[in-house]
Every structure is written in C-alpha cells, then in structure tokens.
Symmetry: C2
Subunit: 401 residues, 2 copies
C-alpha cells in the first residue's frame, strides 16, 4: 500500500472547496412550503400594508376637533351613524358631530381623523358622550406603516423564518423564488455491505454510512439520492459518479489501497484535487471535480465518514443551497475534565461528553465505532499547531443535533 503523497491541511481543503463550489440556481416554490428555504432574490413590496387607514383600538371614529374640551365634567355628545368592522367598512362618511363605532383593524371612515377609545366614552342609544380629547391621527395606523409599496422586504440569501412567510403573505406573494435544493448522489461502495433494513449476517454488515449521509444531507437542506449499494467495480462506480446530481458523496474505498477505486477514477476522468488530509479521523478523504460537479471521497469508517462530511461535503451542500457555510451545531464553552492529547501538524476531532459543566474526552477506539458518536454530546477540535490541552482548559464544544 502506498501512503498519501502529501497530506493537505483542513484549511487548504476548505480553501479549494470554497473556490469551486457556488450557489445553485433558482426555482419557484409555493409560499406555504417555503419555510427554511433560501431566498434567491431581494423581495420588494408591490403594495402598502395596510392598504388603508385603520383603527388601532376599539372605539369610535371621530373628527378630533369634535373632542376638544371633552372631559368627565364636560361630556360632548356625538351621533353614532354606523359601524366599521374589519373587512366591513362603514359605507358612508363621518363628519362634524358624527361618530362611527369602529373595531381594531377596521378601516377609518372618510371624514374621521382619529379613534376615540371606548374607555373615554359613555354610550346612550345612538349617542356617545366623549369624556376625553383625542388629537388628530390618534389611535390610527397609516397606510403602509407596516410595509410601504416599493420598499425592500427581505434580501437575497435570507433563510426564510416563519415570520418572513407571514410578511410575504401579507404583501400578496403566492410563490417565492428560492435557491434550488442541492441533489446529493450518495455512492456507497463495499462488497461487505447489506442495504439498510437488512439484518447483519455472517461477514456482512449493514450500510450505516448511507442512511447517515441521507440524514446529514437533509439536515443541510439537500435532497439525498441513495438508490442502493454500488458494487466495488470500476464501471459501476464511474457510472454512479456521473449520475445526474449537484454533488456526489462517495463512502468507502477512498484511501490508497488497490481496492480503493474511487480516487483513481476521479483522477483519471476528472480532477482529484485533494487526497489525504492532516486530520484524525478522516485522513483518507479526497475531493475533486467530475463533469463540473464536486465529488467527495469519504472514508468508509463511519466516524471518519461523519467527520469528513461535516468538514467538507456538508459545507458544499450548504453553500450550493445558499445557506451559510458554517456548521449548524450550537456551541458551548466549558473546561476539560481531563487532558486531551494531539499531535502537531494534524487537526484532531475529539468526541466528548458534557457532564456538569465539564467536557470529558471519550476514551474510545478508532473511527470504526459509530456508537462513539451517539454516546458523545459533541466534539472539540484540536488545531494543527497544538499538542493538546491540559485538564481545566476552556474549550469550545460543538454540540451534536
């Protein structure tokens, strides 16, 4: 077995990736399905919201001038000539000496310029007695006070929040133009693998990387395509690498042994830009381009696969889909319960548990034990230039989930 000619640093690999991976194009989607999607263009409003002057309190629409001098000791009568309800405006005109009963959100009748709150009024049949003054424009909402016609509402790149969907609905959007979801072809190789849903038997194990990668791609806003295990055979792997997708994630056969077919196929038919990384786990990770789409060669060991996905393939998925390249993990600062060792020149991805404010590195074996990542609460990175940290060091934990 040959070794890697030269190991790239994580920063070099990310630099390459960022230079080659660009946001995908657009598609239209129904507004009601658009929560969490990424807006492709700036959105401006074509309308005023609200499109009419509205009451901001329950009370009576009046001319403010008619209330001048009103007080509990100087009750001024006004004739109630109708009502304005939300969606059912008063058909007539208010005017001097007149009042129109009005509810919050209802259109202010023509001729009125303020709302006299119900608390300042005594009602007697068709008359009210104003017991206080209101100034013009009092308790009314002006046209466009929420959103004015022509104004910018949301910017391109925005990941739509629930309230954004509400605002877009209020300006009359039925659809929105969003960044297309990246289609990620998952190519799982390995003659020892049984498809998800099988019982492990004899010398065969069940594919765990495939369904894990599917869930990771969904988490990062992509659409996974994983039609099944691909035989360890050059023609089958090359065909899978060339399948119609926006990026390709290969799991297994990524190292430099003679059974590791994917790197040489990628080098021969496309570009193997990075192969071998100065990190642990995930050293035998590769990446490159084929037919204009990024290809990630992820190690078959499941912990390495998870780690390499998160560092590289996940970043590509997020960037293609218009999301932030950053990890979706919450962060926590806490101190190490015991020493964490590393080697200079290599980035270490250390699974940890967080227990009572202390961070405990899990003393677990190799990258083959996926259960170590389900027992862990998250991970800590030890950068290339560090030999590790003594107990008590404050570290940043990236929390899984």
């Amino acid at each position: 077995m040959r070794g890697f000619a030269r190991r790239s640093t994580v920063a070099e690999a990310i630099g390459w990736l960022d230079s080659r991976v660009r946001r995908l194009g657009d598609e239209r989607t129904a507004l009601r399905e658009a929560g969490g999607r990424v807006l492709a263009h700036d959105v401006a409003s074509g309308v005023d919201v609200p499109g009419f002057v509205r009451a901001m309190m329950d009370g009576f629409a009046v001319r403010a001038a008619d209330t001048i001098g009103a007080s509990p000791y100087n009750r001024l009568p006004l004739n109630v000539v109708g009502e304005s309800m939300p969606g059912r405006p008063f058909a007539g005109r208010a005017g001097p000496g007149l009042a129109v009963r009005i509810m919050t959100g209802a259109p202010l009748p023509e001729g009125a310029d303020a709302v006299l709150p119900v608390e300042l009024v005594e009602i007697q049949g068709d008359f009210i007695f104003a017991q206080g003054e209101v100034s013009p424009e009092k308790h009314i909402g002006r046209i466009g006070e929420d959103i004015s016609a022509g104004s910018a509402v949301l910017s391109a790149g925005r990941r739509l929040r629930p309230q954004d969907i509400g605002v877009l609905s209020s300006i009359g959007a039925a659809e929105v133009v969003v960044v297309r979801r990246p289609r990620a072809r998952i190519v799982v190789t390995g003659n020892e693998l049984l498809p998800v849903g099988s019982q492990p038997a004899g010398a065969r194990i069940v594919d765990s990387n495939g369904p894990m990668l599917e869930a990771l791609v969904v988490r990062d806003g992509g659409l996974p395509i994983h039609p099944g295990i691909v035989p360890d055979e050059p023609g089958a792997i090359l065909a899978a690498l060339r399948s119609d997708a926006d990026l390709v994630l290969v799991s297994g056969g990524s190292s430099v042994g003679q059974e590791d077919l994917a790197p040489s196929l990628l080098a021969e038919h496309g570009e193997l830009a990075i192969h071998g990384l100065a990190m642990r786990p995930s050293r035998p990770t590769g990446m490159g381009m084929l037919d204009g789409r990024p290809v990630f060669l992820l190690p078959g060991n499941p912990v390495s696969c998870l780690c390499a996905y998160d560092f590289f393939a996940g970043r590509a998925t997020r960037v293609l889909g218009g999301r932030s390249p950053e990890w979706p993990y919450r962060r926590l600062r806490a101190s190490l319960k015991r020493k964490a060792s590393s080697t200079i020149g290599r980035l270490d991805y250390l699974r940890v548990r967080c227990d009572g404010g202390l961070v405990e590195p899990l003393s677990i074996g190799g990258a083959s034990l996926l259960s170590s990542t389900t027992r862990a609460d998250g991970f800590v990175l030890i950068p290339e230039e560090s030999e590790g940290y003594p107990a008590g060091t404050q570290v940043e934990v990236f929390l899984y989930d």
Copy 2:
C-alpha cells in the same frame, strides 16, 4: 368592552400548560425517514456489531506466536494461502506458518489471532517475511466492540441525529417507533382576511398569521392543518375547534370584545383556563381544553401571535411531539446599546437588532407590524419584576431562525 378579570403571569400559564399537555403516542416510521424524529422507546441491539472478528488494518492475518523474534534482521517467512476481503472471507483456515492477506474490515480467518500490518512485511511471491512482532489480538476488532448484543443503544426521548440513524441501521433496524407528530389545527378567523396567495385589496388584508403558524408548527415538529379562513361566526368557529387534531391554534378574536367569540365558546363548551396575560405583546392570549385537547387563543396582531405561539402553543407542540419544551432559538449574551424600559408586573418581549456586539432595541410601534420581526435579529425578555435595563447591561438575546 370588559377588561380581563385577572391577568395570569407567564409562569402561571406555562405551569398550567405543563400540567395538561403530555407526550403523544407512538407510530412506526421507516428508518430512512426518521432523522429528527423522537424515539418513543429505548432501543437495545439484538445483534453484535460487528458480528465477526475483523481486521483493523490492511496486512496479513497470522498467529501472533509465529512473529515472535521477527525484526528487519530476523525476517521470518510465512506462506500466504489466500485472502480475506470485506464481505468475502477466506474460506479455509490459517494455522502455524501460514498467513492470509487481509483488508481492513475483513473477517479474521479461523486459526489467526492478529493482523501483521503490511508495513511490517516484505512480500515475495506466495511468501511474506515478517519484519516485526505482533501480539495476540493486535489490530483486530472483537465481536460486538461497536455494539454488543443486548446492550442499550439509544434512549426513549432521543431526537434522532444522523449518526443515530447510522447506528440503528447497523443493528438491522428497518423501522423505528417514534412519537407521533402533533397535528395542529390552525383556526384563522377574521372577515377582513383573504387567503394566502391573494392580493390585498380595499379593506381586506391577506392572512399572515396562518402561513406563519404553519411554518412555526413545522419548525417545532408538528403537522399543520390550515384548510382556510374560518368565518367569524360561532358555529363555524366551534366546528373548527372540534376538528380532529392534537391541539388547536386559534388566531384572532381572542380578546374580551363582543366580536371575540373564541374565549366564550371555549368557556362554554370546554375550559378557558387562562385568559389575559401579564405580558406585552400578547396580553389577549387565552388557553384551555376542549374535548381533551389543548386550545390556544392567539391574538390576531401578528407580532402578538408570534410571541404567544412561541411562549405557549409552540411549547405544547414540542411537548406533544416528545421534544424538549425549550425554545429552539440560539442564545447570545451581549450588552444593550441603549436603555430598554418595561413596567413592573409585566413581561416584555423586546425585538432587537444585534450590531457589532451591541444589542439595540428596535423602536417600533405596536404588535401589528409583523415587519418588525423580520427586521429584528431576535428578542430580549424583560421579566415581570424589572423596570427595564440601562444601556450597557448584559442581556441574553434569543436569535430568530
């Protein structure tokens, strides 16, 4: 218009909610669809993973005893009698003086007890020369070292992470039993409202709370049901309150005016447990039970609707679905750019922008301006017992999205 008889504190309302809302029952789902779902039961493994002794390095399966004394100066010959590949084990037996070429992950042949790494070997035809020693069990993974049969794998209540899906796949799970997704009936009332996708026109505005609530429910793991605007009419509202769902979210008509039908319907036909809250916005929020399901009366003002959803209805959605009751918002500590005022006895929900490490309260009008929540980066809470904070105070910001 009557006022609220008595305003409940936010803590009282949450206390009521937590006493009445319980996790829903279970359902089966395909493992590949289970990312992000909540596990209903503890899961133990029925199998060992791996189910066989495997090589952890590429090299040769040998009897460790045959390598005793091997060094570059004392090369010990072994006869290579076959190979063991992942999924394609060596059919025969290894034994004294014999070696079997083996790849990482492949089953260790009967008779061998260690893997001699390829780096410690010189290959000549059908023979290898060991140039170093290995001890028994060296470079092999034992049966069940990832997961042993009968051991606990994941606990009930776990929100399934991508790696959990991988682990469940590796133990042969085709389906998992998860907590059912809460079906949330969204009841939007208001004669002034047009359905989502309409253009606002005249005195009518487009429903923004409905699609916003749909996106919120999806975010919190629920299934929204929002078949359309419900007429402001007691029979229609009561029928909607009684529709088949796990919880009901009513938007609009939640206050104490005569047009506010939902509170009296709930009081008459079920239980109106809380009505009127000591908070701003969202004062006219109510909640109770009808036909055994929680009902939330959310104010029609969209900012109040968002806030009341997040405090109460969202919590219920998350708890019903087996998730943590806590907000899904990331948090940030930063200092106030300017003073934030409040009133003792009332919790304030203050929309803020975060700008260069400083938190700026948005000086924006009432709860009717939904665009204020799209311009904000998040919110700050000022508790009941506080009159507010001076500029420079360190506050916790809950970040939208």
